[in-house]
């Protein structure tokens, strides 16, 4: 229980810090200007550092994934996506992983069903929950372009209209707001519901979920319930985008809770499992070509080895071995 309560308490405290800071200490400038810049700078530097670090790691071996027929003889049909031999095949494999979570689609679950028999079955719930969560997050982030650009590009408007398609409530209800909250709840319950999952789950698994839940919660609250004046918010975001250090206008404390939790997310990102966002593009079993039958792969680190045959050994020690009456291959 501690590993759930600890991250929950951390997020609660992190949400209270800007609320108290802005409401009672008047630290608008700190939470509206200094921390966002610092968080964005550290996020970018940290992200680039992690990616460069991974890119510099040598990958000496050709790792052949075995779930599709590799290209070999002409009359054997190749599975191009599972066993790519051309870069664009591999690109399709990476993109299908990034956009559709292909490997999660193959997720299996093993459980004891009707007594001692272990049954294996397809389990698509994690795939569905993850897909809903990530796509909703993407749509929500893109929608926020209306705060960061004086004239957001046209597709942002289209996305916004599609997202508020139901046209209920005012301000219009966004479908992704509900979907992302549902998905976060599901991903949390998934870890809680199964004893095996509870054991392998760590505070670092719960913390991002609670943090994202806090960010979405503050955003939803700001839009639908405890209204915040949007004009100074947009002013401030445009100022941040133009690297201005002018103080922000009068904005409700709830906005600073939202913004500060986003800053915490940006800061936490490069140091955490959230780096899978960049790492997925470097994943060797997704990016490498399965061309081990087409091409000779030699380990670039292989040192020329000093070999000594038994014949040479016997040549060196023949006299001594003869004296000790050891059997010899050559007299």
């Amino acid at each position: 229980m501690k590993k759930i309560m600890l991250p929950l308490a951390m997020v609660a405290v992190l949400a209270l810090v800007p609320f108290i800071g802005v409401q009672y200490a008047g630290l608008d400038y700190l939470f509206g200007v200094v921390i966002p810049y610092a968080a964005a700078a550290l996020f970018m530097a940290g992200f680039v550092y992690r990616m460069v670090d991974w890119l510099r790691r040598p990958v000496p071996y050709n790792i052949t994934s075995t779930c599709g027929q590799e290209k070999s003889l002409d009359w054997i049909k190749q599975d191009r996506i599972e066993s790519p031999s051309k870069p664009w095949h591999a690109a399709v494999r990476v993109l299908s992983e990034v956009l559709l979570f292909r490997s999660l689609f193959r997720n299996n679950k093993a459980e004891f069903r009707n007594g001692p028999d272990l049954a294996y079955g397809s389990s698509k719930w994690l795939w569905l929950g993850g897909l809903v969560f990530h796509w909703s997050m993407l749509v929500i982030v893109v929608r926020h372009a209306r705060f960061f650009f004086a004239m957001p590009p046209g597709f942002v408007d289209v996305l916004d209209q599609m997202d508020s398609f139901f046209d209920i409530t005012l301000p219009a209800f966004y479908i992704t707001d509900a979907l992302v909250l549902l998905a976060i709840t599901f991903l949390f319950v998934r870890r809680m519901a199964d004893a095996k999952m509870r054991i392998i789950s760590l505070p670092t698994d719960y913390f991002p979920l609670f943090l994202l839940g806090g960010i979405v919660g503050a955003g939803v609250l700001m839009r639908y319930i405890a209204k915040v004046d949007v004009m100074p918010v947009k002013d401030q975001m445009l100022r941040l985008m133009s690297f201005s250090f002018d103080p922000p206008g009068e904005i409700g404390a709830l906005f600073y809770v939202h913004l500060f939790l986003v800053c915490v997310l940006l800061l936490y990102f490069p140091f955490s499992k959230l780096m899978h966002m960049g790492a997925i593009f470097l994943s060797p079993t997704r990016t490498m070509l399965n061309n081990s039958r087409e091409k000779m792969h030699v380990n670039p680190w292989r040192q020329p080895m000093k070999i000594r045959t038994y014949a040479e050994y016997e040549d060196d020690y023949r006299e001594k071995m003869k004296k000790a009456k050891l059997p010899l291959e050559k007299e």
């Binding site: 957001p152 046209d167 409530t169 005012l170 301000p171 004046d229």
Partner: protein
């Protein structure tokens, strides 16, 4: 089994629509509207900035569905629930709505039905 389920769905549908029709007859004629008093706004500037869309949404629902066209402001003044009540003051600037809405990139659906101040002659 399927036929029975289908029958239930059809009956439920018929009942739902019958119910609605009988309700429709009872709707009262629209109440007389209050005189347009535009000497002052219905609420503070700060409140209206953040909540005007909710006020308009509430006005739309209560006037169209309940026929209640009179808004009573906290100070007791009676105001006609109409866009004209707003535009009586705010039409002096044709861009009154659009300045902020374009800046914040928010597209209201008021002008789907109403003539916007920008289109007005």
């Amino acid at each position: 089994m399927t036929a029975a389920a289908l029958l239930i769905v059809v009956l439920a549908g018929v009942y739902a629509f019958r119910h609605q029709e009988s309700q429709a007859e009872k709707v009262a004629a629209p109440a007389p509207s209050a005189a347009v008093d535009s000497s002052a706004c219905i609420a503070s500037k700060e409140f209206m900035k953040a909540n005007h869309m909710r006020v308009l949404d509430e006005w739309r629902h209560s006037s169209v569905r309940d026929g209640n066209r009179v808004h009573v402001a906290p100070d007791g003044r009676k105001i006609d629930k109409s866009l004209n009540s707003c535009l009586n003051c705010h039409s002096n600037n044709r861009m009154f709505c659009f300045n902020c809405h374009m800046y914040a990139n928010v597209k209201p659906n008021c002008w789907n039905c109403h003539i916007s101040p920008m289109e007005a002659p």
